[in-house]
Symmetry: C2
């Protein structure tokens, strides 16, 4: 985890901050449950990184709505946004609590595993090798949903997260992809991403 | 909302409690966001009912794991479950905070609507009329996903919630169904449920 930084006011759009917080908090729950289920320290660390981002956005959003409120009517209008933002932040904190368990090496009790096992779909995290068949391909060309029943739910490019990427999104070397799908499909995608396999439904890399 | 009841210890299975809490907390977030987006008091009230249930399960689960811990090793094993249960409860609380906004008639600011509008799928809640074409039908016969692109994500029968119902589940009169899908599809399902329409892809009620 990076050093905590002083939070400074920035005039970012409240709408963008709230949308990002909502998207991040939703994916964080999925990642946290999967981290617990598969005892994945990598997934758990992603969750904690995301929690820092959500915390940051929460501060900035609160500052922005305070500055936007010039009279009681404004304040009444804006208090709903503050509440939704705080709720989103609570969800993110809850996900981080689960992730911390994994990082503290507190064993995942079989009961937790059983409670979460109903998840018929698995979730993986993989770093894309520049030699991978996925490298510099658009999601629409890969058509992973139809071919192997797997959905890329997020791509992290360095510090930048793309949640629910569109079909036009490219995959680059070093990107971290997060995908969900049937166990066989996600195993297949993992092999493709790290460059262990280059067969995607007959398609081969040159 | 019902009167608060004294919580008494009951020997229910920790696994069942945790599974139910996880399932409920996930659907609560969806319901709460939809309640805010469509300013639906009905959805908001469902969220608060569910929050009471999750609170109850949280207490019972904590009592059960305390009683299960007979030595330090047990306690170490069980602390993970307590943490996951608390996190699930926090998620449920966050959903309830959003629902309370709606019930307090605090206006949903356009920014919240914009942040949530990305949800391409809509969520509806409908009480099934005994005259509805859905009455006493199994989900697999209705085949709503293929016919109108809609997925029934939960059915409430009185106080009993069935989350992610299987294909074998029956719909009875008075059941509350929660469904997600394309806007046109959920509107269609709503009309079918309340008995306003009886045409499901050519199929007609007698």
């Amino acid at each position: 985890m990076s050093e905590p930084e002083a939070i400074k006011y920035r005039p970012i759009s409240v709408r963008n901050a709230l949308t990002e917080m909502k998207d991040l908090s939703e994916i964080m729950i999925d990642l946290a449950y999967s981290a617990a289920l598969f005892h994945s320290q990598d997934l758990a660390e992603e969750v904690l990184e995301l929690e820092e981002r959500v915390d940051y956005l929460t501060y900035i959003l609160h500052m922005n709505i305070m500055l936007a409120a010039r009279d009681a009517e404004d304040a009444e209008q804006l208090v709903g946004i503050a509440t939704v933002a705080s709720a989103t932040n609570e969800i993110s904190d809850a996900a981080a609590d689960i992730a911390s368990l994994v990082l503290k090496n507190i064993g995942v009790h079989p009961i937790i595993r059983e409670a979460f096992e109903k998840m018929e779909e698995h979730l993986i995290r993989a770093r894309v090798n520049p030699k991978s068949i996925l490298f510099q391909r658009k999601l629409k060309d890969l058509d992973l949903a139809a071919r192997i029943g797997v959905d890329i739910i997020a791509i992290r490019k360095g510090k930048k997260w793309i949640i629910d990427p569109t079909d036009e999104e490219d995959i680059d070397g070093g990107d971290i992809i997060f995908a969900r799908g049937a166990p066989l499909g996600v195993d297949k995608l993992y092999s493709l991403a790290i460059g262990l396999s280059d067969e995607l439904d007959g398609e081969k890399s040159e």
